[in-house]
Each structure stands twice: as structure tokens, then as C-alpha cells.
Symmetry: C2
Subunit: 438 residues, 2 copies
């Protein structure tokens, strides 16, 4: 929020967030849209969105503020404008969950709070219209680091609604930070999908020339409308060039770089496909996916228990650390190597398991399969009941799966059985050589 001083000036001049204003300071003039002050920082600093899309902050000291034009009325509901439906094209739904990719709409439309209507979307991403009939809805507008298991449930239910409404493909615009956690969650919550469900995001915001949002969304739309892959997947840049996107399996994908456009990679499997938007082409890299079948009956199962902790093992980790975990209903251990921890914490783990808390092993190496039979430490862990032998899940997928399993049972035997059941290909039957570093 702005300081009282600024709020008073704005009130006096009848200026509201979203209005076009001019700020004059030191004889220089700055014109743009008044943005809300949503973060900590200097509350006496006015934030303007300039025409070039950049936001700037101007200290209000000795500054004059003028109203140029009232902003468009902020629409929170989808626009009523109906686009002509082309009956030769499939119908896809684009659902907004927030993230960098959504910021483009704001930028293009000038709206501070974009309404996320199909017409907004098509104004921003004009190519979409060529691919399919576009439907849209904003579920929420969240930084993906703030996503929680409750949000996964909400998203799953909204996707299920769209599928019941006979949409031929669903796209989720989502922030990239935790996109792979959400894709894993949706994989478990939405089984037996009849049509593709695709998460898409952007690594670079729309005010940068290198933004990847346009291509990622176009590829996602092509895959949603035309691919055969009725699975939950992630569609993001395949390389640092604008050549193709990969479609990654939802339970085997991971953000592996902080900033690169091709940060998302398939872990321990090949991507389902390459999607070449400009060539209108989809190259399948695998065959082991469920094929599109509008008659297939989807299984929506959003039960989840978020009271799970993810623990990274490291040299010097203390047995006492595990004592503070008694209030959790489950623990995922990102162990070293084939699935190990320091042997001097094993007694604590044993006592946690004895008290009814399941402990699941996942590899902190990210790639590869847990094997608790090769070394003494692994055999000890297996013996005390640590779950996960032969599983090639990332720590993130193991975490999400344990939350989902604990939403269904508190019985240790059932937890173990469910964890080791391969629901949606989260445990690959075979490891393939090419599934590393591609």
C-alpha cells in the first residue's frame, strides 16, 4: 500500500489504480498507468507502468501528479464478447492460475487486473484462434511459490469441470517455480483422462524481447487441440532457441535452471513429444501414454493430506533434527546416492516409523532409481521400513504422491502398498539410457 500522504493526494485528485497519469519531477515528465504498491519498499514511491511495459518507481518528494485519463473499468468476470465458434476446430479451455505468462495479458491490454476473457487472450496471443476455439477462465492469480495442496485441489476440480463440459483439451497457465509439483499433483488427482491437460508457463516476462510466453502457449494449444496425449504434461521450451517445445510427463518433469527458457527437463524418461508450433507438427518420442478418447471416464480424486515434510540429507545432519518431525504425518527423505542417509540418524528414523510415520526415500541426485540393496546403509533403511526401493521418482513427485496417499489412508501397510503402486507411470518400469541430461 502507498503511504497516507500519497493516498491523500490520489483521493484529492480522484486518481485510482489503473488510471493513466503524469508525474512531473525535476522538470521531467513520466506518463503511464498507476500501479498498486503491492510489495514492501518505499511507500512514498509511485509505481508507474510505462508504455514500453516496464514499471518504474518515482519518489513522491517534490513530484506533481496529474490525471490524464481514467482507466478502463476493471473487469473481474470473463468478458461477454462471444467469438465465432469454428465447428471444424476443437474446443480448448485455457485456465489462468497466475505466473509470468499471465503478465503478458496485462501488458498487452493495459489492464492492471486482466480479465482473462477469451478476447483478451486472443488479443494478446492472436495465433491461438487459428489452432482451436478458445475458452478461458481465471481460477486465481497466484505466484507459483505460494501454491499449496489446496490450490492443486481447486485446479483439479476446475479441470474436471471443463472436461465434463466436453472440452477437447485443457491448458493451465501457471508460474514456473512450482509447476512440476502441480503437474505431479494433477497426475494423481485426475486419472484416466480422456483429453490432454497441459501446464504452460514463461521463464521471461513479456516486457523482454526474449520472452518465451508466446511460443510456449502456442505449442501448448497445438498439443491440447491436436496431440493424442491424454495425460497431464508440461509444455515448455526445448532449447534456448525458438524452435520447439517439449511435452514433459507430469510426474517426471523438473525445473532444472533458475532462468533459462529451456529450464524444464524430463527426468529419467524421454519427453512425450516435441511440439513445433510454426511447422504445425508434433513429433512423438514415446508410445507409452494414454491416447485421446473422449469416452474415457475420468477419475477425479482430490483427497490430500498436506502434512508432509521434505527433508534433504547432508553431511552433519543431526539425529535431533528428526525429533522435531513427530508432528508430521509423513516424511520424504531426499537421500544421497542410491538412497542413503548418515547411519547415525537411522535410529531416529526407526523410531519415527515405529510411531506410525511413513518415511519415503527419494534421490537427491534427481536422476536415477533408488536401490536400497547395494550397500549396507540402504539395507538397513529398508529393514527399518523406509519405502521407495526401485522407485525412480524425484523428491518433488515422491512428496506429492505421499501427500495424496495420506489423503486416502493412515494405515502403514496401505500407505506402503499405495506408494509402491504405479498409478500414472510415476515409477518407470525401465530406465532408459537417453533419459539423462536431455
Amino acid at each position: 500500500m502507498y503511504s497516507k500522504k500519497i493516498l491523500n493526494i490520489l483521493k484529492r485528485k480522484k486518481i485510482k489504480i489503473g488510471d493513466e497519469i503524469e508525474v512531473i519531477k525535476n522538470k521531467k515528465s513520466y506518463k503511464g498507468i498507476l500501479m498498486p504498491r503491492i510489495e514492501l519498499g518505499d511507500k512514498n514511491c509511485i509505481v508507474l507502468k510505462l508504455k514500453n511495459g516496464y514499471n518504474i518507481g518515482i519518489s513522491s518528494k517534490n513530484a506533481k501528479i496529474k490525471l490524464i485519463k481514467k482507466g478502463k473499468k476493471i473487469k473481474f468476470e470473463p468478458s461477454k464478447i462471444r467469438l465465432m465458434r469454428d465447428k471444424n476446430k476443437r474446443d480448448i479451455s485455457i485456465l489462468g492460475c497466475g505466473g509470468t505468462i499471465a503478465s503478458r495479458i496485462e501488458y498487452k491490454t493495459g489492464a492492471v487486473f486482466p480479465a482473462f476473457s477469451p478476447s483478451d487472450l486472443i488479443q494478446t496471443f492472436p495465433e491461438l484462434k487459428k489452432i482451436a476455439n478458445i475458452h478461458s477462465k481465471k481460477i486465481f492469480d497466484l505466484l507459483s511459490e505460494d501454491m499449496t495442496p489446496k490450490h492443486w485441489q481447486k485446479i483439479a476440480k476446475e479441470v474436471a469441470k471443463e472436461i465434463k463440459n466436453k472440452k477437447d483439451g485443457i491448458i493451465l497457465m501457471h508460474g514456473t517455480d512450482t509447476m512440476h509439483y502441480t503437474s505431479a499433483a494433477l497426475s494423481f488427482m485426475l486419472q484416466n483422462l480422456p483429453v490432454p491437460v497441459i501446464l504452460v508457463g514463461a521463464q521471461r516476462s513479456s516486457d523482454r524481447g526474449s520472452s518465451d510466453n508466446q511460443m510456449n502457449l502456442n505449442c501448448a494449444a497445438l498439443a491440447a487441440a491436436k496431440s493424442d496425449i491424454a495425460e497431464v504434461s508440461i509444455c515448455m521450451h526445448g532449447t534456448i532457441n525458438d524452435d520447439f517445445c517439449y511435452l514433459h510427463q507430469g510426474t517426471h518433469a523438473r525445473k532444472l535452471h533458475t532462468s533459462r527458457r529451456d529450464a524444464f527437463r524430463s527426468i529419467d524418461v524421454l519427453p512425450y513429444a516435441k511440439v513445433w508450433y510454426e511447422k504445425n507438427k508434433i513429433t512423438y518420442l514415446r508410445k507409452d501414454f494414454s491416447k485421446r478418447d473422449e469416452k474415457r471416464k475420468m477419475k477425479l480424486d482430490t483427497k490430500i493430506n498436506p502434512n508432509v515434510v521434505l527433508v534433504y540429507s547432508y553431511p552433519g545432519i543431526k539425529p535431533e533434527f528428526f525429533k522435531s518431525l513427530r508432528k508430521y504425518d509423513g516424511i520424504v527423505l531426499a537421500g544421497t546416492g542410491l538412497g542413503h542417509v548418515s547411519t547415525f540418524v537411522i535410529d531416529e528414523l526407526k523410531s519415527l516409523i515405529k510411531s506410525g510415520i511413513p518415511v519415503v526415500m527419494a534421490p537427491q541426485t534427481i536422476y536415477g532409481r533408488i536401490n536400497m540393496n547395494v550397500y549396507k546403509t540402504g539395507r538397513l533403511l529398508k529393514e527399518i521400513g523406509v519405502i521407495g526401493d526401485y522407485c525412480n521418482w524425484t523428491p518433488e513427485t515422491a512428496l506429492v504422491k505421499l501427500m495424496w496417499v495420506l489423503g486416502h489412508t493412515k494405515n502403514m501397510k496401505k500407505i506402503r502398498d499405495m506408494m509402491l503402486t504405479n498409478y500414472v507411470g510415476e515409477i518407470s518400469k525401465r530406465s532408459i539410457i537417453r533419459g539423462f541430461l536431455i
Copy 2:
């Protein structure tokens, strides 16, 4: 330990661990060396190392045990046999810290507890003799998952001793699970190195045809004796073939696969070099390393405070979790994306920092640079004093560095200054495009 019943039989027959014995059961005969029962499991099960190198367990029920031959006397001290020193070759020291790679000596020599003498080593790895004069010492024999900061100190001091004794290169045989933590620790503890210090391990044990220990050690020896790279590095398989090893920078390396022989990769940088043992060739991939200079004065600085916790951020992480961290002297946060956490835990982080506990950000994406200026969450974290902006360190290197820094100061300003000081290239000046997924 074996059961009392078995121990009594062994006592009666004057059989000791390490002796060659025969076990007859169900009319079948098994011959091999009696191994100690060092793990939990059936205490009535006799463990034999067969001639082919495999261990088997045989239930003692209805089994007959015979002594075939007393084992060699177990030598804990390095053998006294002196090898002829070739004055045209450099002198390298091989120090044993345990791990799979060391298991080969046991296998080849038949000793249950290998003495790790130079002659043992050369008997097992005969090519070593061609490369350099070999000196050796066992520091300890530890599973690398049991390594702690105290062990890093011990290793650093032993390396320093060897360097003072004018060795031209030091090799550390080490388990692979936590090898990259140790390499980072040694990088900070042993600065201004005059000669190479190289960690080497094996992903496959010596009783498997695909074992990588021979090639890894030969390449490490070649690099220790002949390369110019006076830095701490890791020498492991570059591909799944037996073609070359990479020499990875100690602060930018990571085990990225549970089982592949080429599991170790350079993160965000190129490896220093490719080492082709069979071709007797070293191909340099970088120039930004300290060159070998026997006159350079090494700086040994092993001060460390291991009371640091590594926390992985994930959707659903609870503010309460951070309350249990007040007894730590430092926290490394493996954040999402460019360095984020759920905004609803920021207040807890703020209060930890205010109470004097430094919080350091590292990327859970593994690759890439922290940037806390792009998004609101990052700016908030920076504002409350989270350390690590623009740093491209792995969570592991950030953890080790914070432990090392906290060994030197408790003053928050100094901690920040030291963390952001680039001591050994742990913060790369530039990010290179080829530093991803190679």
C-alpha cells in the same frame, strides 16, 4: 556380529574372520573367505566372499563348516615393502577415505581389511606405476554418507601434510554419495594450492564387469601427476563409455544420478578438463584455474561450524517448520525458481534473521543463478536480509560455505561479506551457455 551359536562353532574350529573356509549344506559345497557380519540381518547366516568376488549368505542351519586355510594376517599398517622410486616421475599420494573404489583392493588382495599400502595399490591398479611414483595412506574407511564436517577437517590436514612433504599431486579415494560436499569443503579449507588435489570414486563395485574404479583412478593419477590444474577437483567418468574422465571444479560439481558411471556433472561451469588415460592426454576446457606452482604457499584453514541446516522449500511448507530452526547457527534455503519461498513463511524468516541467524538462498533447480530482483518475493527476501543474490552455487556448496564462514565469525555483517566474497570461484563471474546439462 554373528549369533553366539555361530561364534561358538568358529571358536571351536579355530576359524577367524578372513580365513578361507568351506560350508557344506544340502550336499552342496561353498568355498570362500569368511566375512564379518557387519550389518543387521540374520545373525545365523554365514557370509562368504566367493572367488568371483561376490558375497553370499548361507543359513547355518544344518550346515557344516570346515577350515581350509588360515587367512593372511590382517595388516592395519602400511606395508613396509619399498617400491623403486623413478626419479623421472612425479610423486603422488593416494589417500584412502573409503567408498566403493577402495573395495577393489579388498577384492584383489583377498584381504578383508586392506592395508592400503602402495604395493597393495599397485597390485590392484598396475597401471599406476607407469604414471608416477605412488605413495599411499589410509586416513579412514568410511561410507561417504557418514562423512561429517569433522572428517573434512581431517582430510584437509592430511592433504596439507602430503603437500608439505613435497608431493606433486594428491588423490583422495572417497565414496561418491557426498563426494561433492567434501570437494567443496576442501576447496575452502585448502586455498592457494601449489599442486592438484583430486577426489576419485567409483559408482560400481569391483565385483562387476562394468566397474569404473580402474579408469577413474588411472585418470585421476594422470591428472595429479601431469595436469597443470592446482585446484580441488573431482575425477569421474565423462560418459557411460570408458573413453574419458572429466575433471570437475570442486565447488561446481554434483552427483546427478543414483547409479550411472557418468553421474558426476559440472554445474553452471565447464569441467576443467577431459582426461584420456589410455591416450595419455589431458584436454583443457577452461583457462581460469590456478596453475601448478610448487612454490605457492598453501593456506590451510579448517575452521568450521557444522551447526547449519539445509532446508528445501516446497508447496505446503509451514511457517511453524522454521520455528524449530532457532537452535541452528545458520540456514541454507534451497528455494524455488530464482530464489523464492512461499511468501507466508517470510515473516518467520525475518524473525530468524533478526535473531542473528543468517539465511542463505540457493537454487533447488540446481543449475542457474539466484536473482532476487525480478519478482516481488525475491525482493521481499532480499529486503529482510536473505544472502545470495547473483550467486550461482548449488545448495550443497552454499551449505558447506556457510559452515566454513560460520567457523570464522558470528558477526552478521562479516558473514554476509564473506558469503558474497568469491574465494575459490564458487561464484562464477559469468554464466556460460554450455554450462547446462553437459
